[in-house]
Symmetry: C2
Subunit: 206 residues, 2 copies
DNA sequence: TAGATTGTTAATCGATTAACAATC
DNA sequence: TAGATTGTTAATCGATTAACAATC
């Protein structure tokens, strides 16, 4: 299949969660306008996304939720699962780690890293914290593909380079520092400060 | 001035931070291509954004950083500052609160809220934690305009309604629950799960 | 059937990029 | 001047929405 548009990928992730909820409550089929309403979207948008992933309902009785979830799983998830590291165990890193663990999913946090001797060796939700100097070793040993970067800004660039060096394939960057590490690594940035400033601006001007 | 495009607003927030860093290091002027490089953008993009906000350099000697920062401040910030509440003091709420406080800025977290009796009354970075039942009272008393929503999913909808009821103008929603609260309130969603699933997909397919 | 739903094409909207004249 | 930089228009790209024929 062709690579999907970014926005469609984002919505697939949201569809999946909403659909699983429906399944849990015993629902078996869902109309495009119902799914749309759950996520504040339009029905056309839903149908267009499903077109992209080649799913169709055959009858006009709504989509088979189970089948649709399975299709989304096959698109989003790697068959063998994907191993993740959290790098930087300050407040945010700790919050993210506890947020993700326990969720049954094919995305697994398998190691966390810090530089502080007081933090190294501790367990976070049962996951051992290693010294950042062991990054390369652990990435290879545990087959880690993605890093969640939650270090302080002053070491962000250096740590990103270490991650590149270690052979990571993707980074979710929560630092406010733009990373310049080339095309081979997929980087998704999230900047809390920008987010809140955006809300502030549109509250003022809309 | 007309309302700016979303993406331009986001970048203005990033420009500001990058430019302040430049100022701190003694730089007074900056070319569009230099600023672009700092943020992994193109020079045209920078110039187009500045066109939107009506800034021009007069000479071809780069932009006056100080003047540009002042202009961005006047666009993004409310003159009197903006008061913010964090609602839900779990790991994420705590992390966000400590992340924001201490930063000198016109965005101030002035209250935090929880439902847990063990948490209520505690101080987070010097900010008192109130019972969610006092939301409306405190929002009025402290003139709170924006809420950062970090409650567990099962109470997200109810809490969002409480926030609406309390007269909040904007919400930064960190729960995975889509909010249906109408047009009057500006809602910005951030979904960590979607973000990481997106990275996973593009690592696999790009 | 009539009404609701779907899949898809065409049109529109928003954002980025290419192109280039004007300026220092 | 010649080269670098800027501001802006036109073209392109990506995403959403409108329109509608086909289906149950």
């Amino acid at each position: 299949m062709k690579v999907l548009p970014e926005k469609t990928v984002e919505r697939l992730s949201e569809y999946r969660r909403a659909l699983i909820k429906c399944l849990d409550s015993g629902q078996t089929h869902i109309y495009s306008h119902q799914l749309a309403k759950l996520l504040n979207l339009t029905a056309v948008q839903v149908r267009r996304d499903l077109m992209f992933i080649g799913y169709s309902s055959l009858q006009r009785k709504g989509y088979d939720i189970k089948a649709l979830v399975d299709l989304i799983v096959s698109i989003l998830d790697a068959k063998e699962g994907l191993n993740i590291a959290v790098v930087g165990m300050g407040n945010l890193g700790t919050a993210i780690t506890s947020y993700f663990t326990g969720k049954r999913s094919r995305l697994n946090i398998v190691a966390v890293f810090d530089i502080d001797q007081k933090t190294i060796g501790k367990a976070f939700n049962g996951i051992a914290c290693y010294n950042i100097s062991e990054l390369k070793k652990m990435v290879q040993e545990k087959n880690i593909k993605i890093a969640i970067l939650t270090v302080p800004p002053n070491v962000a660039t250096q740590t990103a380079n270490d991650l590149k060096e270690a052979g990571i394939a993707g980074i979710l960057n929560f630092t406010t520092v733009p990373l310049h590490i080339g095309e081979q690594i997929y980087v998704e940035d999230y900047d809390m400060v920008t987010s809140i400033e955006k809300v502030a601006y549109f509250v003022k001007n809309k």
